[in-house]
Every structure is written in structure tokens, then in C-alpha cells.
């Protein structure tokens, strides 16, 4: 079942078009990787889906409903959770309250349980529930950011650069957590610069280069033929 569908999406930033009509489908229960070099248009796509960048045309639909151009809070209420680049958390607010803010979307009776279940999902941050989020390590902040995105049970999770700046041990900890999220039926769009993590997790891969889709293939195929991926990164440079 299609959870998120992007059709002919054009994105302009500062009046300049940076993404030129891309198509992308995220299936429920699967991880779709969006890969590409710096400046390929990956983060712009995330920001457009999240409603932060609104100078766009084309269509973005979630479960059949159009979400392009909606304000970020409306996008989130439509079931799309976004985890922004740089393990972004409410740094001067406690870990538990970071989760409580995200859980406000749930009915009142379910909020406390949602916070507790997210702390249980990441025991590494459970002991720091009362500490300001800014006092956590980078890896712990990334776990909190992921937990915050998941707290109100999204149907689609968009993750921008999950592994950026994190130690391999931390990334290894996040990988099974993300896999478990997808197994629960959540469609995941994973944006990564580092292909190894993405290919390990994803079912399908889309590669962007200079704002255009240069490759669409099953992840397994690219694991077996990495030269195809390398070629897709260079495609528009030729």
C-alpha cells in the first residue's frame, strides 16, 4: 500500500529551482532510501514534504490526501513525521517533555503511555528523562529525535541524514530500531549520504543528482552491483 506519493515535484529555494520534477513512492511497512551527493536535492525534498519549504509545484499525497503546501503542523497531523538533519531536539527542555510535546497530538489518555513506550524503546535515554535534551550526547539526541518523531504514531516517517556525525556503534543501534518501525507498518523515507547504511536497511532506492532522479532500483540489486549506484551519482555530471 502506498503511504506517501510524490509526483512531478519541483522545488524552488531562494527563487531558484533545485528539484526538477521528481517522482517517488514510499510503501507502508517498507524503507525507501533517497540517496545522492551534497546538493542533489535530498534535504530540499524532505523540507518540501514536511511543509517547511512551500515554493513547490507538483503533488505530494499521503494515503491519497494532498499535503503539498500545507503548514508543517498540518503535514504532521496528516500522519507524516519528519526527523530533521542534525539530531534536532528541544535542547532546553527535558527529554520526557520533548516526547510529551510530540505526544500532544494523541488523545489525552494515551499521552503518558506514549512517552513511556518511547523511553522504553530507547533505554539509553530512559535514565535521562528529567535532563535537558541539550545535555545528551549526539547519539542520544538522535535517539530522542527518532523517539520524538515516533511518539504520536506516524504512518510515514521521513528521516534526513540519520547517520550523519554519529559513531558507527550508535548507527548500529539505530538500524534495528528503524527496521522495527517499518515492520510495524510505517512507511519510511530514509535520506542518506552514506550508502552502506541505506542499502542495508532499504527495500528500494532512488538516487537524486542535481535535482533529478537518476536511478530507481531495488536495494538488493544495488548491493550486488554497487557500480550502478556510483554511475547514478555521476550521471548528470557527464
Amino acid at each position: 500500500m502506498t503511504a506517501l506519493e510524490i509526483r512531478d515535484l519541483h522545488i524552488r529555494r531562494g527563487g531558484i529551482e533545485v528539484v526538477h520534477g521528481i517522482d517517488l513512492t514510499v510503501t507502508a511497512g517498507e524503507i525507501t532510501a533517497l540517496l545522492g551527493a551534497n546538493g542533489a536535492g535530498k534535504s530540499s525534498t524532505v523540507l518540501a514534504v514536511a511543509g517547511i519549504v512551500r515554493d513547490t509545484s507538483g503533488s505530494i499525497t499521503a494515503d491519497g490526501s494532498g499535503i503539498r503546501g500545507l503548514a508543517p503542523n498540518k503535514v504532521r497531523r496528516a500522519g507524516i513525521a519528519t526527523m530533521q538533519e542534525g539530531h534536532r531536539v528541544f535542547s532546553d527542555i527535558s527529554v520526557a517533555d520533548n516526547l510529551a510535546i510530540a505526544a500532544l497530538l494523541l488523545p489525552r489518555a494515551e499521552r503518558a503511555e506514549a512517552v513511556e513506550s518511547m523511553l522504553d524503546l530507547f533505554p539509553e535515554i530512559h535514565g535521562f528523562a528529567d535532563r535537558p535534551a541539550g545535555s545528551l550526547s549526539g547519539g542520544q539526541q538522535q535517539m530522542l529525535a527518532l523517539a520524538t518523531a515516533l511518539a504520536a504514531r506516524p504512518r510515514v516517517l521521513v528521516i534526513d541524514e540519520m547517520s550523519l556525525g554519529l559513531a558507527p556503534l550508535v548507527v548500529a543501534r539505530l538500524v534495528p530500531a528503524l527496521r522495527a518501525v517499518a515492520e510495524q507498518g510505517v512507511g519510511v523515507l530514509l535520506i542518506e549520504q552514506f550508502t552502506s547504511v541505506a542499502l542495508e536497511l532499504a527495500t528500494s532506492v532512488t538516487v537524486l543528482a542535481q535535482g533529478l532522479v537518476t536511478l530507481r532500483a531495488p536495494a538488493k540489486e544495488l548491493r550486488d552491483h554497487p557500480e550502478r549506484l556510483a554511475a547514478a551519482y555521476r550521471l548528470t555530471e557527464q
Binding site: A50, G51, I52, A71, P72, N73, R76, R77, A81, T82, Q84, R88, V89, F90, S91, D92, I93, D97, A100, I101, A102, L104, L105, R108, T148, A149, A152
Partner: protein
């Protein structure tokens, strides 16, 4: 000279500065707007109360409507200007509210002229002696209300959904929106609350001092001094700051030779706090580097 009456008067005025400062601070932290029109909104609410009482309305009803008018004026400005203010830097936001302050001041002068009036609340007619100083019930209300609003605001920020959302906006507006916070709704709530607080403050100041449009409009200066002393963060320090400014102003006005400088007290107190805070930060940095 018995300074106690001046200390009492200063504490009362200072508590209203603090009360007003809490309104300014909550709005600033939630929306990023430093509202220079806070005093003018209070002045408008107080003049409406005076007008309604003149028209033989029951004072409690008039006061309730005056507070509601303060909330409505601030909310209306938030609804109309909020979406534009969200896209501009803090200096432009502040200047936009200065425009509102001047517009409200002009409207007050146009409708009611610049004559000084008074609102005499019923509670101000009941008074008693405390160690030689005359204290009335309204003065006790001012002090109690400031404390109540600080405690109430802290509890609301901690335990209510709206308060939690306000903290989220104060911390990271974009992230708050991304996790689902209805930014416009929370901002509008902050405008309405801040306007209601301005209304209450304006009515109390009109009773304790005088009801004059320009005087009430420019009371934003000592109110802002309280917020500066609170470092734009702390509600408790804003309360302390308001009381310090009020008492300082009152004591300076007790001496005829320097009483003309009482209006400078907020600047002096705020400047001392900024300098001490900056000096402490430099010392801390040096210690860390050593």
C-alpha cells in the same frame, strides 16, 4: 523620614510592573515579539473601564469587559500582524508593536483627550495601618495577583497542553511546528493572555497612579526593565525586577532633590543588572579558560 509608606507604595507599583512584565515575557518567549504596545493596551482597557463606569455600568462588569477588551485588542493585532511578524527579524517585530502603541495612544487622545483621570476601585476604599503605613485592599490585590500570576504561569507552562506548546515554541519554533504544534493557535493564545494581563495591569495602575493615556502607554519602560532583569527568561526574576524598580522609583521620589530622576530608575536598575550579568559571564569564561 519614615520611608515605609514609600516602600509599600513602591512594592505595590512594582508588583504591577512585574505582573505586566510576565505578560510581556510570555508573549516574547512564545512569539518572539517584544510588545512595546503592552502599556497602551492596558491604558485603553483602563479608559474603557472608566468610560463604562461613567455610563453607570456596574464596576465589576466594566472591569471584566475592560480586561476582555485588552485581550481582544492584543488578539486582533496578533491575528492581523502575526503571520507577517513571523517572517521578519525581532527588531522589525518590536517596531511594528511600537506602531501599534502610537496608534492606540493617538486613538485614546482623540477619544478621551490627555486629561488625567482616576479609577477608584471599591477595594481601594478599604484600608488599614501596617506599621505606620496606610495600606488598602487593592494594594494587597496587586501584590497577591503578581505572585499568583507568576506561580500560575509556571504551573500552566509545566502542566497544561497550551503551556507545553508555548515552551516548545520558545525553544525551537520550526521543530515545534514539525512535531505537530499548531503554531498560530498557540501564538494567538499568547497574544490574548498577554492582552488580558495588560488590561488588568492598566486598570490597577489607573487606580494606584493616574489614568492618563501617555503615562500608561510609556509605563512599558519600567515593565520592560523588569523583563530585562529577568533576562527575558525567568518569571521569578521578572517579579523581583518589577518590585526592585517600583521600590527604587518610590524611594527616589521620596527625596525632593532627586525625585525628578525617578523615571530614570528602570534604566539604571536594568543597566546595572546587564553589566553585572555581563561581568559575571566574562569572569566565568576566564575561570573556565584558566
Amino acid at each position: 523620614m519614615n520611608l515605609l509608606p514609600f516602600v509599600v507604595a513602591g512594592l505595590v507599583i512594582g508588583s504591577v510592573y512585574a505582573l505586566s512584565g510576565v505578560g510581556v515575557l510570555v508573549l516574547y518567549r512564545t512569539t518572539g515579539v517584544l510588545n512595546f504596545a503592552h502599556g497602551a493596551v492596558g491604558g485603553m482597557a483602563a479608559l474603557l473601564v472608566w468610560q463604562m463606569v461613567e455610563l453607570r455600568m456596574q464596576p465589576p462588569v466594566a472591569i471584566a469587559l475592560g480586561v476582555a477588551a485588552g485581550a481582544a485588542i492584543a488578539l486582533l493585532f496578533g491575528l492581523v500582524a502575526g503571520p507577517f511578524l513571523a517572517r521578519v527579524d525581532q527588531l522589525r517585530k518590536a517596531i511594528a508593536t511600537l506602531g501599534l502603541a502610537l496608534a492606540l495612544l493617538g486613538l485614546m487622545l482623540f477619544v478621551w483627550n490627555d486629561k488625567a483621570r482616576t479609577i477608584r476601585l471599591e477595594s481601594s476604599r478599604i484600608s488599614f495601618d501596617v506599621a505606620g503605613a496606610r495600606v488598602n485592599v487593592t494594594q494587597l490585590v496587586c501584590l497577591g495577583l503578581a505572585l499568583l500570576v507568576v506561580v500560575g504561569t509556571l504551573l500552566a507552562l509545566r502542566y497544561t497542553s497550551t503551556g507545553t506548546s508555548m515552551r516548545a515554541l520558545a525553544s525551537d519554533r520550526e521543530l515545534a511546528a514539525v512535531v505537530g504544534t499548531n503554531v498560530r493557535l498557540v501564538e494567538n493564545t499568547a497574544w490574548a493572555i498577554s492582552g488580558a494581563v495588560a488590561g488588568v495591569s492598566g486598570i490597577l495602575l489607573a487606580d494606584q497612579t493616574r489614568l492618563e493615556p501617555a503615562f500608561l502607554t510609556f509605563l512599558i519602560i519600567p515593565e520592560l526593565a523588569a523583563v530585562v532583569i529577568g533576562r527575558f527568561v525567568s518569571l521569578w526574576l521578572t517579579l523581583v525586577g518589577g518590585l526592585a524598580v517600583g521600590v527604587g522609583q518610590s524611594l527616589v521620589s521620596a527625596w525632593p532633590t532627586v525625585s525628578a530622576f525617578s523615571t530614570a530608575v528602570p534604566f539604571v536598575v536594568a543597566t546595572i543588572v546587564i553589566l553585572v550579568a555581563a561581568r559575571r559571564r566574562v569572569v566565568t569564561v576566564r575561570v573556565v579558560r584558566t
